[in-house]
């Protein structure tokens, strides 16, 4: 028994029939081909699947697709403007905030949410915002640096 839903992803409307048990991350990745949102723990701990739901960061592995019916979703694919990197993406690139990059989509989305809510966070506020995202490569410092750069510009 499938459910008809409509997802507004990065401004575009998608109508599709999903199983009631399908998670949003699976629908984004497998149905919509938007593989920028990554999946690791599927338990809401690593943050690799972080997306914005009505501006709020959520773990899309814990959300059922039908729960997001009609809501506004933003993913990493929506960060560029007219093919140009956003300042945040540019900062991640320049500051060495990305190594293997598997965690990057989640960190970018959490940073977007933070900066929209609080455009001038201090270092502690940035660190606090990142506490639900894991990165095994960078040691976090350069991720914090990159976000701090954007906050100061």
């Amino acid at each position: 028994m499938s459910v008809d839903i409509s997802l507004r992803v990065n401004g575009a409307e998608h109508r599709l029939a999903v199983e009631p048990t399908e998670t949003l991350v699976n629908v984004l990745r497998n149905r919509l081909g938007m593989t920028g949102t990554h999946k690791d723990c599927t338990m809401g701990i690593c943050g690799a699947c972080t997306i914005l739901l009505n501006g709020q960061p959520v773990s899309s592995c814990l959300l059922l697709a039908c729960q997001a019916d009609g809501e506004a979703i933003r993913t990493i694919e929506g960060l560029e403007r007219d093919g140009a990197l956003s300042l945040l993406q540019e900062a991640f690139l320049r500051y060495g905030a990305v190594q293997c990059g598997f965690c990057t989509p989640g960190f970018l989305m959490i940073a977007v949410a933070l900066l929209e809510k609080n455009p001038k966070p201090d270092r502690n506020e940035i660190i606090d915002a990142l506490k639900g995202n894991l990165c095994r490569c960078t040691g976090y410092t350069k991720i914090v640096d990159a976000i701090e750069f954007v906050a100061n510009n």
Binding site: M43, G47, L62, L79, V98, G132, R136
Partner: protein, 821 residues
């Protein structure tokens, strides 16, 4: 959506097979072009400097990573592809009496089921060094999580549901969970060829250890323990296998060593090497954990069986349960010194839990033996290293191959010794640390040793913080109930494989429009090695960085250059690229000379121009000039330093070069909770000339934070062979809030005479000193010495004599179980 097997869909694929093949072919070519295009080379020519080495240039691959378009293996899909899952052992050690797949065969969406019975015995076993690990267990399982059956279906869910329907009948066998039990005479022999359950045993004896201990002023002796830990790369093992219309088996996979899988697949499938192509996708971290076979052989066999693309991705839980771990170690260390603080002898007796198969156990042992006592002079040294089979998931390679554990013990003893004789922890290391001309225990003479330079960088900071902590706050007392401490530790680490040749090769080709491509087998696993190789090639050729592309990790397009592991890529492949550049320039200049009617000696490349008899040509102009001949120009370089250790005597050249460093950490211990906060951290490294400072800094920072996790929180907990914390909620990784408020990394200036433009390599090394530095800091703060890692709060409280169960329960300041967002 669950369709029945064989039906409409199956028919569609059968009937339209020619069309389908053509579609797949197009899809696949596009995927490969994408994957390799992302790694290729700079899309920008932002480098206005004539130099390429030492610049913090951003990486090409990162562009795709911040856009969300990077081609990780699990992001790749093909029309009609199938998904594979494993049935895994629920027993730590058992005979398999029967495998009943009848219900699974009937399950919706299932296309194929693979068991060991279908694989000929001589093709069943795989492994990096020993070919001892069955792709699927046959008669016996040796650990919980061992794969027994692989099933492909039209969705992951269907494959999993079918797996759940498989009934395996077991007959339990005696279980062995510690190496101590494993080596008892009469213990059940886990591996048919390993008498006494010994995977590997090494002895190394230099000088007269007994006499040195008898004559010593000071002797320290303790037993140290370490727990198994997981790599926790965020991207689980994943791959896509596809047989193309020409019959070539293709595997796109997240790996550290595509050529290893290439060779294994040839043996396992019986296909000739040229009918197999393994291509590395973008890799989401590895740290030594993507160098064994997991999904590779099974997915390929299933692709051959079904003639469909097969995708396999492990779940996070499977990564924890069924892929290699850092070895669990227990060892006795005994150290002798004079009262002036000169080290005279070291004795190590090490026993290691190797798990159920060999994996990298021998490599870890070999490296640990050679690194015993490093980076200090020990005239007398005795090591006994033994690794035994148990019924645990195999232990394998992980960042530093065990050296971090040895360093934990050695650096603890060094600091303790300094305190005993009343000198600073820096001073003791200065008195004993390696300098140029020192001879290590294998007889190798060292050169270009930057250890003392790193100590000299750290010393003033240590002295200043010591004064400040003592002066302002008295006894390091910051807040009531909290005590600060400083800890120092050093590292010395050999680059490349231990004591065996491990050459790397590179080829350089040029196109008529002026682009140069470097082909090199060592893949970029997320560290930025492709960028480093690009910078080295641009420097060696003296052309603009924007002209360079790199193709790495493709078994068809590149030669086997060994794996990206052991911190070897910048050094080994960088050197190969330098040698290839020389060969390239010779051929290139000859071709230009022929066309312009001068002598090759009158042509040279200079700052992105080609100078022909003092007349400068733009590089692309010169390439156009020789357009007809460019295809023939292939610069080849092979870097194969003379590395060889005689395993019976442990004498010889262990590594072509060594990287060094000194770390200083300031921590705060909560006396009531026993918890440790890392407040400040300073790290000075000798990695030779640094090719890309921002990349190098990132490697060091990442290693330090992994080291913090290992030192304080991380451990795989097992009960009766089952891992009880196979998820991030209870396996505590360091998070952003755990990093020190101040974290400074810098590089001392050394030039390695054997390295590409003086570079050494350093990726793994930064994890090595961290646990030892933290142990020293804990002792400095609260006067106790933890002898096991992780140094959990309960253990610290217990040592302090403050332990109470209530306090332990509330010790949740750091390293608390994580809650989902």
């Amino acid at each position: 959506m669950a369709s029945d097997k064989k039906q409409p869909d199956g028919q569609k694929f059968a009937l339209e097979s020619a069309k389908q093949q053509a579609l797949w072919q197009r899809e696949f070519q596009q995927i490969v072009a994408d994957v390799q295009g992302q790694a290729l080379g700079p899309n920008w020519t932002a480098n206005s400097s004539p130099r390429n080495i030492g610049l913090p240039l951003p990486r090409n691959d990162v562009l795709y990573k911040v856009r969300g378009t990077a081609r990780y293996a699990a992001n790749i899909s093909m029309d009609g592809m199938l998904y594979g899952r494993f049935v895994r052992s629920q027993e730590p050690h058992a005979r398999i009496l029967n495998i009943d797949v009848s219900a699974a065969t009937q399950a919706p969406g299932v296309h194929a089921i693979l068991t060991a019975d279908e694989i000929p015995q001589d093709r069943l076993l795989v492994g990096t060094h020993d070919n001892d690990t069955p792709i699927l267990a046959k008669d016996r399982v040796r650990y919980v999580g061992e794969p027994i059956v692989a099933i492909v279906a039209e969705s992951v869910e269907q494959a999993q549901q079918a797996c759940d329907l498989v009934e395996v009948e077991y007959e339990s066998l005696p279980v062995i969970f510690t190496p101590e039990e494993a080596i008892i005479v009469g213990a059940y022999q886990i591996d048919a060829e390993a008498e006494g359950n010994i995977i590997t045993e090494h002895r190394h004896d230099v000088g007269d250890v007994d006499a040195a201990f008898a004559a010593a002023d000071i002797v320290l002796e303790n037993t140290f323990t370490t727990e198994p830990i997981d790599h926790c790369f965020l991207e689980a093992q994943a791959g896509l296998a596809f047989v193309d219309s020409g019959g070539t088996l293709n595997l796109l996979v997240s790996t550290q060593y595509p050529h290893f899988h290439h060779e294994q697949l040839a043996r396992v499938t019986g296909l000739p090497m040229e009918k197999i192509r393994v291509i590395q996708t973008v890799v989401g971290g590895a740290f030594g954990g993507k160098i064994d076979d997991t999904i590779e052989c099974a997915s390929c066999l299933l692709a051959l069986k079904t003639s469909r693309p097969v995708s396999m991705t492990l779940t996070r839980e499977e990564v924890f349960i069924a892929t290699t771990k850092r070895h669990r170690l227990k060892f006795r260390q005994k150290l002798a010194a004079t009262k002036e603080g000169h080290l005279t002898a070291l004795e190590l007796d090490i026993l290691c839990d190797g798990g159920a198969y060999r994996s990298y156990s021998r490599v870890v042992a070999g490296r640990c033996v050679v690194h015993a006592g490093m980076p200090y002079r020990f005239p007398n040294l005795r090591v006994h290293f033994m690794t035994a089979f148990t019924n645990h998931v195999p232990s394998g390679s992980m960042r530093s191959f065990g050296v971090v554990k040895m360093a934990f013990a050695l650096e603890s003893h060094l600091t303790e010794l300094a305190a005993k004789i009343g000198i600073s922890p820096i001073e003791i290391r200065k008195r004993n640390g390696f300098v140029d001309g020192d001879v290590i225990s294998t007889g190798q003479v060292l050169q270009d040793v930057g250890l003392l330079k790193t100590l000299a960088e750290i010393e003033p900071i240590y002295e200043r913080r010591k004064r400040e902590l003592a002066g302002v706050h008295g006894q390091g007392q910051m807040n009531p109930g909290r005590k600060r401490g400083l800890g120092v530790a050093c590292l010395g680490y050999g680059i490349g494989y231990s004591g065996i040749r491990n050459p790397s090769t590179a080829r350089l080709a040029v196109s008529a429009d002026g682009f140069v491509t470097a082909f090199c087998g060592t893949p970029d696993i997320g560290t930025g090695s492709d960028m480093a190789l690009t910078q080295i090639a641009a420097e060696a050729l003296d052309i603009d960085l924007g002209r360079l592309r790199v193709v790495s990790g493709d078994s068809t397009k590149t030669d086997d250059s060994g794996p990206t592991s052991a911190s070897r890529t910048t050094y080994f492949s960088g050197n190969a690229v330098c040698l290839a550049s020389e060969d390239f320039k010779r051929q290139f200049c000859t071709a230009v000379a022929e066309k312009t009617g001068c002598l090759p000696a009158q042509v040279r490349i200079d700052n992105d121009r080609v100078i022909v008899q003092n007349e400068p040509l733009a590089f692309e102009q010169a390439c156009r000039l020789i357009a007809d001949d460019v295809d023939a120009i292939v610069g080849y370089g092979k870097f194969d330093p003379d590395i060889e250790i005689d395993i019976s005597t442990y004498q010889g050249n262990a590594y072509p070069t060594y990287t060094y460093g000194t770390h200083l950490v300031e921590i705060e211990v909560d006396e009531e909770l026993g918890s440790v906060d890392v407040v400040r951290y300073w790290a000075a490294h000798d990695g030779g000339v640094i090719v890309n400072p921002i990349g190098a800094e990132g490697q060091v920072e990442g290693g330090i934070v992994q080291g913090l996790g290992m030192a304080l929180w991380e451990k795989i907990v097992r009960q009766e062979g089952f891992i009880v914390n196979p998820h991030y909620r209870d396996y505590l990784l360091p998070g952003a809030m755990d990093i020190p408020g101040e974290l400074s990394v810098w590089f001392v200036e050394t030039y390695d005479r054997t390295g590409p433009f003086g570079a050494k390599g350093l990726a793994e090394a930064s994890i090595i000193p961290t646990p030892g530095a933290i142990a020293g800091a804990i002792s400095n703060a609260v006067g106790v010495w933890p002898r096991g890692i992780p140094m959990e709060s309960e253990k610290i409280l217990e040592l302090m004599g403050h332990y109470s169960a209530d306090a332990a329960k509330s010790a949740t300041v750091k390293g608390q179980p994580r809650e989902p967002r």
